[in-house]
Amino acid sequence: MPAPSSASAPARSPVGSFASDLFTSHLASLAAAPAWWLDRKRAAYEQFAGLPLPRRTDESWRFSNILGLSLDGYGLPAPATTRLAPFPISSAASLTFVNNTLIRGAAAESKLPAGVIVTTLAEAAVRHADLLQEHFMAQPQKLGSAKFAALHTAFVGDGAFIHVPRGVELAEPILIQHIASGAGAAVFPHTLVIAEENSRVCVVDTFVSDDAGAHFACGANDLYAGHGANLTYVGAQAWSRDTLSFQFNSTVVRRDARVQSLNLNVGGRQARHESLSQLQAPGGFSEMLALTVADRTQEFDQRTLQIHQAPNTKSDLLYKNALRDKARTIFSGLIVVDPDAQKTDAYQSNRNLMLSEEAEANSLPGLEIQANDVRCTHGATSSRIDPEQEFYLQSRGITKAMADELLTFGFFEEVLNRLENEELHAALRALIQTQFKKK
């Protein structure tokens, strides 16, 4: 069908910098990888190249800045090191990737219980091929980014593979740091977590830039919580202010399992985060949390999907955005209750705190319910700091600026308080506060 509007806009290449010769050289760098892994990547590249870029009329990209999605000007970066300080929490094991390559793998052996695997995807492809095949990017892409997810699979260099066997509980988190370094660097972070029956684990992913360059990040994480498992996932995204970022989060919750995920977003020029939770068996519970501090001209585009596929499952989503300057946020959430998923208890809430005259918040909270014995509620609000609370603090002698800061931090505390790990709570709070102190 001829599109008359495309004539005025400059034609954009559907693959941009990620042309087939770049893919060929990427494959050449993976000489040691098994054949199935390479075949999977080839198929993904075909899919990526064949799919069009998002269009303005695509419902799953409603309100997004489509023109900002250019894939030009990036390349696969050379290996590098970093002088960034590690994320300030104590961990049972930690892996650090710079430009898609592992530079530091510090599994504090004494801290890791027997049988727990914390390794790279490259090694898992050889030694744990069956697990990787079963869980790596295995869930459907339902949130509109099939093209970018395929790009991720095609170019993923390395990433973290975590396997916690039956009944094993880890007291301290596992820390995975993904770092992009050098202008134009394209990174494809991946973290895969398999928590087997009745295990307990907390995984922290951080995403940071080594410099202020224009980076391209296209990451994914696969979370699998087996029967009765307790999995906590925290993603802290602080890419450079000039980064175009995509992150795909997929969670599978089995019988009586509990998954808590919290995504903190502060970095990037334009950052899209898609989060899919599938509640596949009775008793499953998925708690989906997010905090976003958006300032200057940043755009944060968050899309979520809670699918209740079995009876007696529960999900609870709370996404909070604080908007300053000319920032934009988009929250698009959908709760789906399949036929016969009776006794579903689903909640979805989006709160936007408007801190400037020019900020823009878009909310698309959705429900699709096909079973009648359910409790599904959603809410979305957009408003400024409550003037009464502000007045109360001022009447106690606190300046207006200080009162606003206190109330804004208080806005985030409701979410941070849901974390069990206090050290993590403090580290995330500090990261939020740096955003406000910068100016």
Binding site: T57, D58, E59, R62, F63, P339, D340, Q342, N352, M354, L355, S356, E357, E358, A359, E360, A361, N362, S363, L364, P365, G366, L367, E368, I369, Q370, A371, N372, D373, V374, R375, C376, T377, H378, G379, A380, T381, S382, S383, R384
Partner: protein, 485 residues
């Protein structure tokens, strides 16, 4: 408007089952009738330039209207079906099999005596007593495309109110209506507003002069009465400064074997300080596609309120909207939807804030019965640099059976830090304890369910005028029959 408009109380438990069921005696096929009518003008089926010239010729329209229609046809053809967000059921509309214009060539009738006998017979089957209608402020009973009966009470015309059909309005009062015609809802707003703009006929044009408060609601009454016949009314209501008017529209349609299409455009203009209330009870037959565009333009301190109730049709897509153009304007949508087997009620609201201190309120309640599907779609838009705007949206959905379905798709855009928006939605089923309690007191499960559903919408139903809320209760009782047990 409905065959049953008398009030009733719940029967005492000791009477027998048939008597105890308030809806048992109602013949549900009562709406299924059709009389052969000799159509004087018939544009045939299908849509092309000739159809439009034909309509224009019959209506002896001015050249600018003819051009307007032709331009709209081009827009209609150019626009794709909105199936990227709407249901694919739209693809089942066969535009070539629809009659776009049909009329008996009647001039609008002024007195009841002049209404032809066979049309009177149709009204009687629907149970509208002649007597009752005489009390109504003005009845524009639309028989197919043209007004078959039009009775404006003296008192309304003495106040200077103009209440005519669209053909008459554009012909007799172009100075009043042309200014706003197609301005609130431009032809290209969507595919179906373009279709209506090309082939519209019928509908009401109302002008209420400055400061006039119309005490009694004005009513129009639409029906479709020809197989495969789409009806495309066009309504434009202008309330001049400080005036007030309430308009009521109710629909029932005979059942037909093949799908029919109803695609109306309703434009409201409330000038400074004016108030317009527009009430609809929609009960088309289960084979009708009801694709309607309704929007109001509220100037400074004006108020527009849509009260919208959808019970019939196969697919309804209707999102009444208000553009809040002037300072302190206020918009409100009260919506009730009931979706039974084979029905999809895709309804909602649009609130476009375009001035400071504007407020809007949306309250939507839907009930899904059997395999029915109810959808809420909403849009709230507060652009840059506006101060003190407020919106409140509440959507509640009730699911009756295990395979009933409901969806909620709101879209909210807010800019700036001096506006306040809140949206809340919930989905639930009828409380089992409530049903148990009522059954224990001797009600059947069906009665208890009916009562619970009526309770769910009670606070909204009370906002309807008396005869409508009674009719609503009857319609819900009918729909709920056989849904449980």
């Amino acid at each position: 408007m409905n065959p049953l408009t008398d009030t009733e109380t719940l029967p005492s438990p000791d009477v027998d089952e048939t008597a105890a069921n308030p809806v048992a005696g109602i013949d549900q096929t009562r709406g299924d009738f059709k009389y052969d009518v000799a159509y004087e003008f018939d544009a045939g089926t299908g849509l092309n330039e000739k159809t439009i010239d034909y309509i224009s010729d019959v209506k002896k329209e001015a050249a600018w209207i003819r051009e307007f229609r032709h331009a709209a046809l081009k827009t209609f053809r150019a626009k794709p079906m909105p199936t990227h967000w709407a249901t694919r059921d739209l693809e089942n509309i066969d535009f070539d099999k629809i009659r776009y214009y049909l009329a008996q060539g009647q001039k609008p009738k002024r007195t009841w005596d002049e209404v032809p006998d066979d049309i009177k017979k149709t009204f009687e089957r629907l149970g509208i007593p002649e007597q009752e209608r005489k009390y109504l402020a003005g009845v524009e009973a639309q028989f197919d495309s043209e007004a078959a009966y039009s009775n404006i009470k003296e008192i309304v015309s003495r106040q200077g109110v103009i209440f005519v059909n669209s053909t008459e309005g554009l012909r007799e009062h172009p100075e009043l209506f042309r200014k706003w015609f197609g301005k609130v809802i431009p032809t290209g707003d969507n595919k179906f507003s373009a279709l209506n703009s090309a082939v519209f006929s019928g509908g009401s044009f109302i002008y209420v002069p400055k400061g006039v408060k119309v005490a009694q609601p004005l009513q129009a009454y639409f029906r479709i009465n020809a197989e495969n016949f789409g009806q495309f009314e066009r309504t434009l209501i202008i309330a001049d400064e400080g005036s007030e008017v309430t308009y009521m529209e109710g629909c029932t349609a005979p059942k037909f074997s093949t799908s029919t299409l109803h695609s109306a455009v309703v434009e409201l203009v409330a000038l400074k300080g004016a108030k317009i209330q527009y009430i609809t009870v929609q009960n088309w037959a289960n084979n009708v596609f009801n694709l309607v565009t309704k929007r109001g333009l509220a100037h400074e301190e004006a108020e527009i309120k849509w009260i919208d109730c959808n019970i019939g049709s196969r697919l309804t897509m209707k999102y009444p909207g208000v553009v809040l153009k002037g300072r302190k304007a206020r918009g409100e949508v009260i919506s009730i939807a009931l979706a039974n087997d084979g029905q999809h009620q895709d309804t909602g609201a649009k609130m476009i804030h375009a001035a400071d201190e504007t407020t809007s309120n949306v309250i939507s309640k839907s009930i899904s019965v059997g395999q029915g599907r109810a959808t809420y779609r909403g849009q709230i838009h507060i652009p840059k640099h506006l101060k003190g705007c407020k919106n409140n949206t509440e959507c509640d959905a009730l699911l009756i059976n295990t395979n009933s379905r409901t969806d909620t798709y709101p879209a909210i855009t807010v800019r700036g830090d001096d506006n306040y928006v809140q949206h809340e939605a919930s989905v639930s089923k009828v409380n089992e304890e409530m049903i148990f309690y009522m059954q224990q007191r001797g009600l059947t499960e069906g009665q208890a369910m009916s009562l619970a559903v009526n309770g769910f919408i009670n606070d909204l139903a009370r906002q309807f005028p008396m005869e409508y809320s009674v009719e609503l209760k009857r319609l819900i009782d009918l729909e709920m029959e056989g849904s449980v047990g």
